[in-house]
């Protein structure tokens, strides 16, 4: 399909060759020129390796040796009742917006304060609306997979928040393969009009034995004074590999509260790139990363203050048990002119077994005067003084340990305003802690 691709050197790895084959099989649409640029850049850069700054701790070599086909587009998909953690319980209100392997599986339309459109439809009818989200990104290594998503996503979801949306909206992302090594490209765009507000929960689950590689991208654009509480919750199965990128752009006075919750998956990479480009924009990013069994979690947050009087607050809490590994890279950049920017980064890790590993790396890059930026990172084991205090009150060791782990995560949990979602997340979290039965009683 693309002459420039045909003339470039043949891709090196099996994975790249298979992505190129997917690209050649795509039909043209109004976005093809932008997609082609993205594909070209992706093939030029290749898969990230440990030489790339933000991929130092995550090895994708085994993935590079695989060939991938598109994850199936399934009509009439039925969600198994037991497959998903019900984040809103029975109090949910609106039915979830269902995406299966990135394809919307419910009717489009409107719910109170929000328009819901399919990206495929939109690329046909209003391609200009989508262009800003598909423009070539920086070639930051953290954006590598987004380039591939831009080139190859077929459909997805566009949500336009026009007013105050009274109930939380759940987007249920189901990854369900059918045998062959496959890859899905879910794409979600959330645009909030000035003054609007909403709570959106993206929930990633898997169904069936064959889980596709998930390469998902979400964009959030908040207009003036808009408010959004956004969750992305991963409760995929232990074999799932998920490379997720989230981009947040905020205008004047807008407020974003973001929660990234990793409770499942085999390899989960969560990217967040936020730009506070107008005065008064404020972002609270909260990450709760649970390493369990041999899970590998790699969290990369980059927040750029591009205007005066912007505020960001990043709180990351990681626990790791068994053979798991959790990596937190968080970076704040204050651009020239962004005076009176305020930022805070707190990364804390708790190791629950000697074989687990947590790496935290908060960074600051300041190019403006009169800013207030703080960062801190600690990783350790349970505090022996706290443990002894609880034992001396008669609590058994397992209960005391679990309570301390739970307390460690409380900073993030208590910030969640959607009570049923919080309760469901707590429940799933507790199930992965030692002595979960006892702990349930203390919720």
């Amino acid at each position: 399909m693309s002459s420039s691709l045909q003339t470039s050197a043949p891709p090196q790895s099996a994975a790249l060759r298979s992505f190129a084959a997917q690209w050649r099989a795509r039909t043209l649409d109004s976005l093809s020129p932008l997609r082609e640029q993205a594909m070209h850049k992706f093939l030029e850069l290749g898969l990230p390796t440990s030489r790339d700054e933000t991929w130092r701790h995550t090895n994708l070599r085994s993935l590079a040796a695989q060939s991938f086909v598109d994850a199936p587009h399934r009509g009439g998909f039925k969600m198994a009742a037991s497959a998903a953690l019900a984040l809103l319980g029975d109090a949910g209100g609106a039915a979830p917006l269902l995406l299966v392997n990135g394809y919307p599986a419910m009717p489009m339309g409107e719910i109170g304060g929000m328009q819901i459109k399919s990206l495929r439809e939109l690329s046909r009818l209003e391609p200009l609306l989508l262009r800003p989200y598909l423009e070539p990104l920086s070639d930051a290594d953290s954006a590598r997979w987004t380039l591939l998503n831009t080139a190859l996503f077929v459909d997805g979801l566009y949500l336009k928040i026009t007013a105050r949306v009274p109930v939380p909206v759940v987007i249920l992302h189901v990854a369900a393969g059918d045998g062959a090594d496959s890859i899905a490209y879910p794409r979600v765009i959330i645009e909030a009009s000035p003054g609007s507000s909403a709570t959106i929960i993206e929930h990633h689950v898997t169904q069936g034995e064959h889980t596709p590689l998930n390469n998902s991208t979400t964009h959030i654009a908040l207009g003036r004074d808009a408010r959004l509480e956004h969750y992305r919750v991963y409760s995929t199965d232990a074999g799932a590999t998920h490379l997720d990128s989230l981009y947040v752009r905020q205008e004047r006075g807008s407020q974003c509260r973001q929660f990234t919750i990793v409770l499942g998956g085999g390899l989960v990479r969560t990217g967040l790139e936020a730009r506070l480009d107008e005065p008064g924009a404020s972002l609270d990013s909260n990450s709760l990363l649970v390493g369990h069994e041999d899970r590998h979690v790699d969290c990369v947050n980059i927040v750029t203050h591009g205007a005066p009087d912007t505020r960001s607050n990043q709180t990351a809490r990681a626990i790791a048990s068994d053979l798991s590994r959790v990596i937190i890279n968080s970076k704040v950049i204050v651009n020239p002119g962004a005076v009176h920017a305020q930022s805070q980064q707190s990364c804390r890790g708790l190791l629950l077994s000697p074989t687990a590993e947590i790496d935290t790396r908060p960074q600051l890059e300041i190019h403006a005067d009169e800013v207030k930026c703080a960062h801190g990172a600690t990783t350790g084991r349970l505090d022996p003084d706290m443990l002894f205090y609880m034992l001396s009150r008669g609590l058994d060791r397992a209960t005391a340990q679990s309570l301390l782990v739970y307390a460690f995560l409380a900073d993030v949990l208590t910030g969640m305003s959607v009570a049923p979602a919080r309760a469901a997340i707590e429940g799933a979290l507790i199930a992965q802690l030692p002595d979960s039965q006892t702990l349930r009683k203390f919720r």
Binding site: D383, P384, D385, M386, F388, Y389, M390, L391, S392, R393, G394, L395, D396, R397, T399, A400, L403, L404, Y406, A407, F408, L409, A410, D411, F442
Partner: protein, 249 residues
Amino acid sequence: MLNIIDLSARVAGKDILKGVNLKVGPGEVHAIMGPNGSGKSTLAQVLAGREDYEVTGGSVTFEGRDLLALPAEERARAGLFLGFQYPVEIPGVNNVYLLKAALNAKRKAAGEPEVDAYEFLALIRQKMKLMQMSESFLTRGVNEGFSGGEKKRNEVLQMLVLEPKLAILDETDSGLDIDALKVVSAGVNSLRDPTRAVVLVTHYQRLLDYIVPDQVHVLSGGRILKSGDSSLAHELERRGYDWVGAEVA
């Protein structure tokens, strides 16, 4: 009730207790006094079962059981309580959760059913009133953001709820103003009865004006050098500790 024979203990490679002997009977209040670094707090922590404090010799029985063979949590359930000199803050663990868990652990060990939620709250409120603690305590994390005095009150509150047979209070009086000292003392005195015992570890005689001990012991250099009745505390207040060592030598 408590019988300590020739107890020696080491902390971080250093011998701190060097042969402590002490007998505490039911209904009795004992005060252990002594200069800084004499081993008072070490003794308290060893009795409560702190693992990184190594017992190098001697024995301790509590109601006929070998106390040193029990882990900390079982000592607590058997009726031993340590009021900490520096109660640790545990943000994220609610005060009331901890108290309830502690009470239920004790009840379970005694073969009793778990406490009813309503009854429990009524009990806590009653004890909080006695300790003059504010309602906000109910929603806060364990000792989180408490002042020094509030932490000590909280220790005594826990003791009142758990009703231990033996309470060891490690410098519960330090950092308290006179009003707080009276409240804390009233709390301790409310627990005094013929079946329970209290060991007060203290630096100053002041506390003993409010909780009058049956016996006073001077711990110095890891040994009990002198014992006497409550008048010994007054003598120590007047004369300091040096003469005790000189007298023994």
